[in-house]
């Protein structure tokens, strides 16, 4: 260690070094803050000229984009929320912690897959296939989940020891694969015998539903894939933060596991789950590449899952590099980006506040575990 005499002689220098270091840290932090503020200020400043534009043209352009953005987010959440929350319930409440710690990173890997790869698969591979095989695709959406229930029934009847429920996530994979294959095999037969023609033909000629190759359903699935892990991770955290004592109490009072979940765990973790969904919504609203590649980018206002949309993020990505700086389009697009920024920032802040509140509440409930 340093000898006392050296310590004394080095004292002023040490003091100075310390101050300098602190100052650098403070300045670094201030620079970071300034940079963050600069983003907001820049966006605000450059979208000010929008105020001078005629209102109808702005609203007309922005309504389409806003509608498209919300539609994409909605269909994403429609797919992502059930999957993510259900997965969180399973890992948080039914799995031993060790196994949970293994599965969680695996699910988080889904989020790491770059959007451009997901978009490519969805837009170039998935969308044309779905268009040609709509009945099979719908069957794939419906049958595997139903088959999971079937698996449960079979399991209850046979009660095999080798396949415990807490490993169901593993051995359900081959089951789902088999069921998916079954759906692919059976759907065209059903289509043939029940309808006699292509399902799309029935949709378009008899029901008047138009079908676009790259549509909201494709976007929902693809973006759902990207959003699921985010929602899952936060919901899983919230659910596993629910003190065990609460649930044990409920079970002691005669509730089964499912009732405990509905009556105790979900209400206790409710705000956390809410914030997880909010975060997912924020991500879905801002995702660019997936929408750009998997939606038709048509400036449509329609609610049909089989029609495309144009979102703010995709419009900015396609049009901004080509807009002359300081032109009307440029300012309008920057304004759209500002809307996106504010929206996600607010949604995320709300989610964060809710999450922190919940956390402290649960800590109190659990007696400060």
């Amino acid at each position: 260690m340093i000898s006392p005499s050296r310590l004394r002689t080095a004292q002023p220098r040490r003091q100075f070094q310390d101050r300098l270091a602190t100052a650098i840290i403070v300045v670094g932090a201030v620079a970071v803050l300034a940079a963050i503020l600069a983003i907001g200020i820049f966006l605000l400043w450059h979208s000010l000229p929008v105020l001078a534009m005629p209102l109808p043209s702005i609203t007309q352009k922005l309504t389409v984009l806003a509608w498209g953005t919300l539609k994409a987010a909605l269909f994403t959440l429609l797919f992502a929320i059930p999957v993510a929350l259900c997965a969180a319930v399973y890992t948080a409440l039914y799995l031993p912690p060790r196994m949970r710690h293994r599965i969680k990173p695996a699910l988080e890997m889904m989020e790491a897959v770059p959007g451009v790869v997901v978009g490519f698969i969805a837009g170039v591979i998935l969308a044309p296939w779905v268009e040609q095989h709509l009945a099979s695709a719908l069957a794939l959406l419906v049958w595997p989940p139903a088959s999971a229930l079937l698996a449960g029934l079979v399991w209850q009847a046979l009660a095999p020891r080798r396949l415990p429920f807490n490993q169901a996530w593993l051995w359900l994979i081959p089951w789902l694969l088999a069921m998916g294959w079954l759906a692919l095999w059976a759907a065209p037969l059903f289509e043939h015998y029940l309808l006699g023609v292509d399902l799309r033909y029935v949709l378009e000629t008899r029901l008047g539903v138009d079908y676009a190759t790259r549509n909201a359903m494709i976007v929902g699935i693809a973006m759902g894939f990207a959003v699921v892990p985010g929602i899952y991770a936060l919901a899983d955290d919230a659910l596993s933060d629910v003190p065990a004592s609460l649930m044990e109490g409920a079970q002691a009072l005669g509730a089964d596991r499912w009732q405990t979940l509905w009556r105790v765990a979900l209400p206790a973790a409710g705000p956390g789950i809410f914030s997880a969904v909010l975060i997912g919504a924020g991500r879905a609203v801002g995702e660019t590449m997936i929408v750009l590649m998997a939606s038709s980018n048509a400036a449509l206002i329609s609610a049909s899952p089989f029609e495309g949309m144009r979102t703010i993020a995709a419009a900015v990505a396609i049009e901004l590099p080509e807009a002359a700086p300081m032109s009307t389009t440029y300012h309008l697009l920057i304004f759209a980006a500002l809307v996106l920024f504010l929206f996600t920032f607010l949604v995320n802040t709300l989610a964060e506040v809710v999450r922190l509140r919940l956390r402290s509440r649960l800590l109190r409930l659990g007696g400060g575990v």
């Binding site: 000629t205 980018n297 029609e307 080509e322």
Partner: protein, 332 residues
């Protein structure tokens, strides 16, 4: 932990910190400056056998992206020190980049509008140098199994536009509205097209829609290849794209010309302009009239108008200039 900082101390810290930061920025700036000062392309003199070097910056048409890249590759083979940096984004982008000065070469799949030329002239005092470098055409494509073979201009307009300026009375929305496709494919004609900034979009609007407006439910793709791929995957689709993007998955339609004759987009028909939607591809150069072009640019132009350059255009899927036109421009 000690977390009390009295105000004077804070000020001292801030001052010290900002000095440190200023130094850091100064270093950064010097290195930035050095970095480009020493790399501004050193252009050797233009004598025949000396090496030509330099960087060519081009911004513009997606349609011509493949062509420009191939020309760039061939140029790099001939002059290893010349590199072509190309950024695709649409023809409108070429004009604005030329005017803003972010590029000196602007490949465009349509001629510059008078407004764009005026803005350029206003900024530089001279008009941009306009070169026709190859022939191309817009083709209307349908799925390879689609029975449709030919369209009149009115029908085309009625399918793609809301305004129907070419004179059609009814919009054509569904396949059953056309005589040859009564039975199949069914449903709506799903339309595929390009984004707003592309020259393909602008040209199609002007020539096929008689200057009218596109329908709003057209799927917008960021590239022509994506349009063709989308149409090739979907029996009920129709789209427009550059001729060289044609693939085996789609069929190009013949169009009726002014004489009432259906003309297929063949090479000869495009080269001589018989096919109604044929066009020239342009390269705009920011060339002051009183000064010679930089050698790297000269080398590129020499390549483009050489027989080999035109062969490369054919290989890229375009149509070569008529021989007389090529010789006329081969003067670099």
């Amino acid at each position: 932990m000690n977390r009390h900082a009295t105000p004077p101390r804070l000020i001292a810290r801030l001052a010290a910190g900002s000095i440190a930061l200023a130094i850091a920025f100064a270093i950064a700036f010097v290195s930035l400056f050095a970095s480009t000062f020493f790399t501004t392309p050193v252009v050797a003199n233009t004598a025949e056998n000396t090496t030509v070097r330099g960087t060519l910056g081009a911004v513009g048409s997606d349609t011509m992206a493949g062509l420009m890249l191939r020309w760039g590759e061939a140029l790099a083979q001939r002059h290893p020190d010349v590199t072509l940096q190309f950024q695709a984004g649409g023809s409108a982008n070429a004009a604005s980049a030329l005017i803003a000065g972010t590029a000196r070469l602007g490949p465009m799949s349509r001629p510059m509008t008078t407004a764009e030329k005026q803005r350029f002239t206003h900024r530089y005092g001279y008009p941009p140098l306009e070169l026709k470098v190859a022939r191309d055409a817009l083709v209307v494509v349908v799925h390879r199994h689609n029975p449709l073979r030919a369209l009149t201009r009115r029908q085309l307009d009625a399918i793609f536009s809301t305004t129907r300026r070419c004179g059609a009375e009814q919009p054509i929305l569904r396949w059953k509205d056309l005589a040859t496709t009564q039975d199949w494919p069914f449903g709506r004609i799903t339309l595929h097209g390009r984004n707003l900034a592309s020259g393909t979009h602008a040209l199609f609007e002007r020539r096929a829609l008689c200057g009218g407006e596109f329908r709003r439910d057209i799927s917008v793709h960021p590239g022509s290849a994506a349009v063709v791929a989308a149409v090739g995957e979907s029996p009920g689709a129709m789209g427009y794209a550059g001729y060289h993007h044609l693939s085996a998955a789609v069929r190009s339609l013949s169009l009726y010309n002014a004489a009432g004759k259906a003309v297929a987009p063949s090479r000869a028909a495009i080269q001589h302009g018989d096919y109604p939607l044929s066009r020239s591809l342009y390269l705009y150069v920011n060339a002051p009239p009183d000064a010679a072009l930089p050698p790297a640019e000269q080398a590129l132009l020499r390549l483009i108008f050489s027989p080999r350059g035109q062969q490369i255009a054919q290989a890229a899927g375009f149509v070569a200039l008529p021989e007389s036109r090529r010789q006329q421009q081969d003067r670099w």
